[in-house]
Every structure is written in structure tokens, then in C-alpha cells.
Amino acid sequence: MRLLLGALRLFVYRALWYWLGIKSAGRALVRALGSPDENIRSIAGILLAKSRKRAEALLQEAVNRRENLPIVLTVLGSIGDPALIPQLRQFTNDQNPEVAKAAQEALKVIESSAKL
């Protein structure tokens, strides 16, 4: 039941942010990427990735705060916007190996998609 409520909350956050432009709801969605529950992290990631470019500004804020950085970079990679390449490049040599790996993988996917 707890999981169901948690997931429903994410769908509501997404609707509030995506359709009504309530930024705090979007930020709550980004915060959920750091949830200890793998289900909640996954759902938040999918909802953000499916929001495509609209999610970039929110994710950018998280990047600036280094909040949940590896998964935030993975979501940015999922969005696949080539405009993100310069920013992702900055993280490829990050001292946190998980951050560096996530940035490298995101770059690889975006660059190979751009070539197609």
C-alpha cells in the first residue's frame, strides 16, 4: 500500500508540474530520484525521461546542486538532447567514478543517436 501511494504521488506531481506548471511538484519528482525505494526511483526517472526537454530545466537545477548526480545524468542521457553534450562532457572526468561513468554513458548514447 505504501508503494502504491508513493507511486500515485509521483503521477500527481508529474501532472501538476507538466500540465499546470507547478515547479515545486517537478522538484519533488527530481528529489524522488534519490528515494531509497528502487520502485520510486524508477518511476520518477521514467516520468522525467518521458517529459523530454520540458524536464531539462528541473534536472539542470539538480545538476547545479549535484543532487543525485549519477541518476540525474542518466535521465539527461535518456532525454537525449544533443544540446546537453557540452555539459555532460564536463562530468566525464568527475572525481566520483559513478558520476563520471554516468556522464560517459549518457554522452555515448546521445552522440550515437545524433549520428543516426
Partner: protein
């Protein structure tokens, strides 16, 4: 060491007053079931609610408070763990357990657990080390106990200790030794090498990595041929078709670089999509196990290149719902096992769920 089958577990505190197999197993279970309460893990608490009730596991509030070692060692006149090995007689556990039952607080719980670290039976020692980790002021002492228990001749003791180590000290060199040993002992002429392929967002998760809880669970019994070296296959975990296509190519390349024929693939979530795509690209595999795999028409296995395909899932998986994939494969060549669990996408890589629902029996040998 096989245990006598327990048809009726012994509840707390009575279990701590006996030394039979049923009592030892019940003591270990009670200690392990106390741990989610201390961690305030509500999911685990509700999952094991019925077992907790049967065993009358005492509940203490999760305040995050840690009990100082001196607070329990001195009153109990226990020698520090670092000194010569001390084994406590059974009657002392009975008294400590009944004290705890009368007054369920952090100090009483810590006293019982601290004493159980010196229990004559290694299963209880390992369970106590696991349960006590979040309560004692010096948890690092407990790693040594778990490491020692991984040397036991008793399968159950080894598994409990290795799972605990994987969770609490995944960097322990003992875990890599265990993985190496199993791999060396079993890899040789085996028809398959098994590979575990994680899903979206999971590249940095621990559960699928060598030493992680699910990997260790599979390796130590279900698939002893599971690939367990540090360069285990991993992909970006990015949520896009492009990322899965790249991962499928990488999986083929990885397999080619490892001279592994027809790997037995255990996959979670979109890791299954990656594997199916790889078979479409020409990868030959052994059996393919899809755990909580979303159903999308573009991801289907090339059945001429795979062994048996089995899908294990829960009811109304919420992550698959968000993904927009289907929950059920309609192709009759994919055998389905639906667990009596609702919503939880990660349940299918939970060792406790595998044990509870005997998932081993539905996956191909």
C-alpha cells in the same frame, strides 16, 4: 549441516531457552526479523508481518539510537570480541531474552544481541551480527564475525553470512574470495555461464554486481556458474531505445570477448529487452529468464537463438505501468510465472522472494 525440518517454529522468548535445531533456527529468524524494525523498514515489516507475529518478535521503536558497547559488555561481564573467543552457555540467553520480553527497549535488545555474538551456534552469531549492525555503537566489529561465518561448513550459515557481508560490507575481500572460489570450481566445462543483466537506472545498484545480495544469492546455490568477475557485463541503464540498442551490441561484444558459449541469461526489467534485442542481432543464448520485464512489441527474443524463455513478474507492476509497457507476454513460447505480489518491480530480484516462492523451480535448469 542439514537441519531437522521445522514444522512449528519456537516463538520469542522461549526459543532462546532451548538448543534444538528448531530453537537455533527460530533464534536466528527472530534476530533477523528484529532488524527491519530497527531500520524502520516498513516494506520488510509488512512483508514479514505474519512471520513476526508467529515468532512473537519483540518490537522496539526505531529511534536511530546506537547503544555503546560498554553499556552492555560490562554489566554482562562479557569479554571484548577482540580478545580470546568466548562462548556463553545457553541458560544466559534464556535470561536475557526473558528480560528483553519483560522490558522491550534498546538496551535489552543490545544486551541479547551482544551476547548472541558469542553464541555457540554460528548461525545465531551471524544473524546477531546482521541484526545488531544498526544498533551497536561499533558496527565494524561485526564484519569479522560475518567473515568468519563464511568459512562455516554449514551452507545456511555461509549463505546468511555472505548475504550479510554483501549488504553491510560489500568491499570485504572475503566476498571476492568466495566468488572466485565458486567460479573456479564450477566454470570449467560447464555447458553455460550464467550472466545477470540489470535494467534501467540500475547501473550503479549493488544487487546485480558480484558481491551484491541477488548476485550472491544466485551464485551460492541457484546458478553456481554465474559470472562473478569484476568486469561483469553492465550497460548504461539509460531509458531509451537507443541506449538499449547500444547495450545489445555491447552484450554481444562482451560475450565475444569472454569466449562464453550460449550464456544462460537472467535479466531484470529492460535488461530483458537488451537481451532479446541481442538475440535478434545474432547472439545465441541458453535459457532466458525475464524478471519484471516490460512487454513491448519491438523486444521479442529470436526463439531460434535462445533456449527456454521464462518470464517472472508480479501483479500490476507500477514501474512497468509508468513505462507504458505491457505486463504479460502473449507469445505461448514464453512461460509466465506470476507471483502473488502486487506492484513491486524490484521484488523479482529479492532473494527473500525467490526463496519464499521457490522461483528456482520455475526457471530452466
Amino acid at each position: 549441516m542439514p537441519y531437522k525440518r521445522v514444522s512449528k517454529p519456537i516463538p520469542f522468548p522461549r526459543a532462546f531457552g532451548a538448543t534444538s535445531d528448531a530453537a537455533i533456527l527460530s533464534q536466528a529468524a527472530i534476530l533477523l526479523l528484529m532488524e527491519p524494525g530497527l531500520r524502520r523498514n516498513r516494506v520488510m515489516l509488512s512483508e514479514y508481518q505474519s512471520a513476526r507475529r508467529t515468532l512473537r518478535v519483540p518490537t522496539i521503536s526505531a529511534t536511530g539510537r546506537r547503544v555503546k558497547v560498554e553499556e552492555v559488555e560490562s554489566p554482562l561481564r562479557l569479554r571484548p570480541l577482540s580478545s580470546a573467543k568466548e562462548v556463553i552457555p545457553a541458560r544466559r540467553f534464556r535470561r536475557l531474552a526473558s528480560d528483553f520480553a519483560k522490558k522491550p527497549n534498546h538496551l535489552a535488545a543490545a544486551s541479547l544481541m551482544e551476547a548472541c555474538l558469542r553464541h555457540p551456534h554460528p548461525l545465531v552469531r551471524a544473524a546477531a551480527a546482521l541484526a545488531y549492525f544498526g544498533l551497536t555503537s561499533e558496527p565494524s566489529r561485526l564484519i569479522g564475525i560475518l567473515e568468519e561465518c563464511t568459512q562455516s561448513d554449514d551452507d545456511l550459515v555461509r549463505h546468511v553470512a555472505a548475504t550479510g557481508l554483501a549488504r553491510l560490507a560489500p568491499e570485504s575481500p572475503r566476498l571476492s574470495e568466495l566468488s572466485r572460489k565458486t567460479t573456479q570450481a564450477t566454470m570449467g566445462p560447464s555447458a553455460h555461464t550464467s550472466l545477470l543483466v540489470h535494467g534501467t537506472w540500475a547501473a550503479n545498484e549493488q544487487w546485480w554486481k558480484p558481491g551484491g545480495n541477488f548476485h550472491s544469492y544466485l551464485l551460492n546455490g541457484i546458478r553456481p556458474d554465474l559470472y562473478a568477475n569484476a568486469d561483469a557485463f553492465s550497460w548504461s541503464g539509460i531509458y531509451s531505445e537507443a541506449a538499449r540498442a547500444i547495450a545489445a551490441t555491447e552484450l554481444q561484444g562482451w560475450r565475444g570477448g569472454h569466449t562464453i558459449q550460449n550464456p544462460y541469461l537472467l535479466t531484470h526489467s529492460h535488461g530483458g529487452s537488451v537481451a532479446m534485442l541481442a538475440t535478434q542481432n545474432g547472439l545465441n543464448t541458453g535459457p532466458l529468464v525475464l524478471l519484471s520485464c516490460p512487454v513491448h512489441s519491438i523486444y521479442m527474443p529470436d526463439f531460434t537463438r535462445t533456449g527456454r524463455v521464462v518470464s517472472v513478474r508480479v501483479k500490476l507492476d507500477l514501474v512497468i505501468l509508468a513505462d507504458g509497457g505491457g505486463q504479460k507476454f502473449s507469445d505461448p513460447r514464453i512461460r509466465e510465472k506470476i507471483l502473488p505480489i502486487w506492484f513491486d518491480h524490484s521484488a523479482t530480484h529479492d532473494p527473500a522472494v525467490w526463496q519464499r516462492y521457490n522461483i528456482r523451480s520455475v526457471i530452466p535448469p
